[in-house]
Symmetry: C2
Subunit: 238 residues, 2 copies
DNA sequence: ACAAAAGTCTGCAAAAACGCAACTTTCAAA
DNA sequence: TTTGAAAGTTGCGTTTTTGCAGACTTTTGT
């Protein structure tokens, strides 16, 4: 991460994926002046379940998990997000978040209020069109996850979860290690199981040489082999 | 359904939810001239998994299931859709559908090709904005379904599936019967289980007076009671 | 009206997954 | 370096879910 104290201006932001860039140049300036950029440390909440929605968040740089909990406190990670991704959504008056967003690493987040977003969207069709396509793509992704949740065995769900993490946060080129340190509990909350099953399965995948575990790192030794394990689900995300 | 042979013009369409209506009046005419309206009989495919994407489909009137299958032929219904809803998405060159759409009743469907949609979206910010909001809302809905798939027991999943069907297709005012005749197999493909479990559970719910079964109809006798069964998941869809 | 086909229901045994408990490892603060 | 808390691992009994088999019912086509 770049230094915490310097605010990254939209006009100078190196994040090529950010949709704000699709606005007209004077709108980029205008929106930039309205935005609120915050650097969150690892493990902090960006917003909480039940909080009023005032606008949307763009990730300038960082790694974020979006989760939803039930009354027993059991959590489910519904989405992982990184550079250029959008968190939350435009809210109507009085609407509250049904989910919470938590940083998995230090992250720089840009906040834009509902009114600013609405004005920018109405004035910049290219921007709105791409925002629409973003949501549409995320919808298709999660539709595939729905199938996986409904039909996969626990081992398959865990393999899917590993591939999902790898596709979102990436793997190091040389060693194929996941670009994030992720706990057994977090993996369980992605795969929809418990941390014991994660332990058991990672040990088993390690023995099959499909992955390797080195300390807290997970190395995706045999990426193709993992994909083959779940190929019958025809998942086209990875 | 209105007569099969008469094409419903966008300008005269009684469907108040359709986003096309948000375009400028001359765009509505233009888009109407480009559209292709087809009446599908119950059980017909609107599009198939693997087919090239040429545009999007709007449901003028009808009931549709969107499902995704794996190589074993096992299916999963990922979404139910009715009047005013959108099927498919704008595709890039050479992209194919990862899902298929099948009518559950006779349905009148309007098709708009990629280019027409793109032009209309670029010229009508109100239309684009609402399309974006549609996808954003569907994303939130399915994020909640993700949690339910990950954490619920089979009985809870089946109750959720019943409430999902009721909220999408509605229930008759007097008797609270589901406004659709749905097979055990279809319910299984929504809930992510098998038809035997559906049978067992419906019998049990019937005995608990939470629902009643009359022939092919499912009567949601105790709607609130069903909601209470899954209240710990804080699902805000119904 | 009849037969075939499709759909539904129920019991039962096998398989999968869960959750507790005990134990080990890792990490960070004292 | 010690020590305690948190995270991870593993075994095992219990619970849940599955999938097959067979009976029964409804629908469909001839």
């Amino acid at each position: 991460m770049t230094s915490d104290n310097i605010i990254v201006e939209c006009g100078k932001c190196k994040n090529t994926d950010c949709y704000i860039k699709l606005c007209d140049s004077h709108w980029i300036l205008l929106v930039n002046n309205k935005k609120n950029q915050i650097v969150f440390k690892k493990g902090q909440h960006i917003f909480l379940e039940g909080h009023l929605i005032f606008g949307v968040y763009f990730i300038q740089e960082g790694k974020v998990k979006v989760n939803s909990s039930n009354l027993d406190g059991k959590k489910q990670i519904v989405r992982l997000a990184t550079d250029g991704h959008i968190l939350g959504h435009l809210g109507s008056q009085g609407e509250t978040y049904p989910i919470e967003a938590v940083t998995m690493e230090d992250s720089r987040i840009c906040f834009f209020d509902n009114q600013t977003m609405h004005d920018a969207l109405m004035a910049n069709p290219q921007f709105t069109f791409n925002m629409m396509m973003f949501y549409s793509k995320e919808l298709r992704k999660i539709e595939q996850r729905t199938k996986f949740f409904a039909q996969m065995t626990v081992e398959e769900k865990i393999i899917f979860a590993l591939l999902y993490v790898a596709s979102t946060f990436g793997i190091s080129k040389k060693e194929k290690a996941l670009n994030v340190i992720i706990s057994r509990q977090d993996l369980a909350e992605i795969a929809g199981t418990n941390s014991e099953q994660i332990s058991r399965t990672l040990t088993s995948l390690n023995q099959q040489n499909l992955i390797h575990i080195r300390g807290k790192e997970i190395i995706m030794s045999d990426y193709q082999g993992l994909k083959n394990c779940i190929s019958r689900y025809k998942i086209s995300l990875f």
